[in-house]
Amino acid sequence: MATLLFEIGTEELPAWYVTQGREALAELAAERFAAARLDVGSIDAYATPRRLALLVHDLADASERRIERRRGPAAAVAFDDDGAPSAAAVGFARGQGVAPEALQVEETDRGTYVFAEVATGGTPAQEVLPELLAGLVRDLPAPRKMRWGEVETPFVRPVAWLTARLDDAVVPVEVAGRRAEGGTYGHRVHAPGPVALEAPEAYVEALRGAYVLADPAERRDRTRDAVAAAAEAEGLHPAWTEALLDEVVDLVEWPVAILGRFDARYLALPDVVLEAVMIHHQRFVPLAGTDGALADAFVGVSNTDPVDVDVVRRGYEAVLDGRLYDARFFWDADRANTLAHHAWGLSGIAFQRDLGTIADKVARVGVGVGRLMERVGAPDDVRRTVEAAGPLLRADAATEMVGELPELEGEMGRAYAREEGLGDAVAQALLDGVRPTTPGGTLPEGEAGALLAAADRADTLLGFFALGKRPSGSADPFALRRAAGALARIAAARAWEVPLRDLVAAAAAAYADGPVEVGDEVVDAVTAFVWERVAQLLAAEGADVLAVRAATADGPPVIDAARRAHLLVALEGSEAFAALRATYKRAANLAEGAAEGVAADPARFETPEAERLYAALAPARDGVAALLAEARAQMPAWSLGAGPERAPTPGAGVEAVTALKAPLDAFLDGVLVMVDDPALRANRLALLREVRDVLRALGAIEELGG
């Protein structure tokens, strides 16, 4: 057993790749060790902006030995008349590295063949590793790789060195223009020379001495603590976002927190602008006072411990001042005009070829949202807000601030609407109308904005589907999956009791006058596409795929589908329910033959089994209603994908429903349904159809497994 250290030293990796690359490297290595049949104990993975590394513990000294039987030619051609091996057999034996006499004859299903027993494995790790490790560099998955110099092997950024140590020995790996060494390299500025390693296990410690925190968890703690300490010294606290912390940690090897200040007059800018400038442009941590309001201070995390902190602080402050100066300029310039004026600018921004400009789209959304409000039954105040906000939707996209800071789209709509005195409801609707901006992002807070956002996403989906641009495979250049996911999440979170297809169809009304034709088949295709997203979001909540299929089959409102999926998952825990389901399938299959709309006539059953079954129907119907009511009460609308706050616990309704099983069994076993008398047969089928319909309120439960 030995310990292996493998480090890929690089020029600075993109921050977002540091963690992704570390995980990918560990995964790929585990795969390759398994494929090479080299046993490993555990693998620790490390990464900084300048290195991806693996520390492999308890690596086997050699690959696992195994005897493999390999099939050769048919026995008929493997031996000559004297029983001596033929040329074919000798060739096969040579190829397998065994003596011809060692070949064995064996009968198989497909005839009699000769076999060779070949011992494989046992190759020393030292011999396996050079190629295996080179393969890790060549094959490490990354979204985008580059070439450099005259090196043929692409990588995420140029490979600067390789370290490969198996206990005391250097593993001679050669790849990407580099030859592995036994030591590593420290911080670019503080310890630029080689760093010797006594043993692979000394890696993290040795680097710590060379101003590199290779362990991401340690670097994260150190960063957070250092920033907090710098802030507390001024009586402030960091307003971190998780994404900012992730990024900052992967931008440095040796975090040093430096506090700076900016001119307090910039605090007049909206917080979202200050945060966008500090976070997105400078990766500075905004600071807040005890009252939670942003302070005129920030912390930058330096990758060096500078000789004179004031030099770096002054630099940070100067660059932030320049950016805030610009932001202030945009803020003033944009407010010189109304949002309605800015909205004119949208006619100069293309939405999509053949779907017009953003202004065209906003106009369509205005029509679609009107229909949507009818379906949803929006109250008057919501209706008024939508009508005021609708024409201003995305108007901020034409402002200078959003031109410079595109991530503020929606936020600036709200901010400028407030400044303009349009009222909080309209302002909020303008922000909500572009939400969610990411797959798991914040949903609209208000009903008006939710309606606008839903109409907007439906419009996008319908337009692109009508152009035949639906996503295929992994390619989704217009982010239509995201739009569909957003529509599903909004509909669920608002608990709109409108079948999904009706929501989509409402938005389709806006295409009545073009620019593309949106017919029923497009509405159907978009609806099916959104159901796929619903299924995926519910799967992410842990709902079984069959339960999801059962819950969505009849095209209900999204929220109903979601609740039923979780209810069915909970019901599946009940043995009695699973047993009922088996019987139900027989009943449902038979009921396919029943005429629609014909009620069973209890006066004409002619058997006690049918009468008992009929008597059990009403309590079961009440039971199903009780289960659905409970599910509604126990699962208030939630953000789809995140899961309801708690799983439903089906109550007494279960018993009323499962009580159907005994009379149903008795009926199916004791009564011939398909009798010759047409009236009697129709009546019995009608009874089974009623049974089916009662249970179908829970979903297409015949889809469930078991």
Partner: protein, 286 residues
């Protein structure tokens, strides 16, 4: 350090490392990348090292001289090394040290920046170099230029000279940079900056620029097709500048803008292909 001493220092530094010191291109260009000594020389297999000041014009960036950092006329210092040397980051940091910017006194960072020029059919991966949070250099490994894969790969270093000078001199506006003893950058550039900003945003005639674009485009096509790659490429640059003027004037709708970008891109790609064919025929890339 005077502005011209910064130039002299960088010239000396890169000359000592084997670079040809090329004079600036004598026409309007948007960035050093457009220079024939960069764009054309990054193509093909022949090794190449070049350095020098690269005055650039971006009409949309004009602010009438009001903004301390943004100008429609500014200076890049452009270095191209082909093939990219293995130690180029360390050498670059040495060049900063030569200017008095020592890495141990600052927070110098290589922050991901993927560069793409749709008009040049070019893209590369690399970084913005941040000094104490301020971007002072673009550092790019060209992957494609003019639609052609780069092999070997060149690295391009583009220093923002005004920013570096402002920092070194401790001034808050680029016009306050002392270029020669007693002479400030503003003395040389202020009037021109204000007038060009007015021209770019208010006075240029879009109809004229559209006509010029069409003329330059046709001329570029004709010359490149005749094997006159260098004069033809000059007209590509002129067409590109005419487009930039139309853009600054706000004369282009989104789709129209895209169409112009594609037209320039086609010219750039045609020039690149002709240059390579020419180089292959002559057995040398010049």
């Amino acid at each position: 350090m005077l502005f011209q001493d910064i130039l002299l220092t960088l010239d000396r530094f890169w000359s000592d490392r084997g670079c040809v010191l090329a004079p600036p291109h004598d026409g309007e260009v948007g960035a050093g990348t457009f220079y024939p000594t960069t764009f054309l020389r990054a193509l093909g297999p022949t090794p190449w090292r070049v350095a020098g000041i690269a005055p650039s014009r971006r009409p949309t960036d004009g602010r009438y001289g009001d903004n301390p950092y943004r100008f429609q006329y500014f200076s890049q210092y452009q270095v191209v090394l082909k093939p990219s040397p293995a130690d180029v980051q360390a050498v670059y940091l040495d060049s900063l040290a030569a200017l008095g910017i020592r890495a141990e006194a600052h927070d110098v960072r290589f922050v991901e920046d993927n560069w793409e020029s749709p008009t040049l059919g070019a893209w590369g991966l690399g970084w913005e170099v941040w000094m104490d949070g301020m971007e002072i250099t673009q550092f790019t490994y060209f992957q494609q230029v003019g639609g052609q894969d780069c092999a070997p790969v060149s690295v391009e270093l583009t220093y923002g000279l005004e920013r570096i000078a402002m920092y070194l001199q401790g001034v808050e506006h680029a016009f306050d940079i002392e270029t020669a003893p007693g002479v400030r950058l503003g003395d040389l550039r202020r009037d021109a900056e204000v007038q060009h900003s007015r021209y770019n945003f208010e006075a240029s005639d879009p109809a004229v620029q559209r006509d010029l674009f069409d003329t330059y485009e046709a001329e570029a096509r004709r010359l490149v097709a005749d094997g006159l790659v260098h004069p033809g490429y000059d007209f590509v640059l002129k067409a590109s500048h005419a487009f930039n003027l139309l853009d600054a004037r706000g004369a282009l709708s989104h789709t129209e803008r895209q169409a112009y970008v594609q037209r320039i891109r086609r010219l750039a790609e045609t020039s690149a292909a002709a240059y390579l064919a020419d180089a292959a025929g002559d057995g040398e890339a010049a």
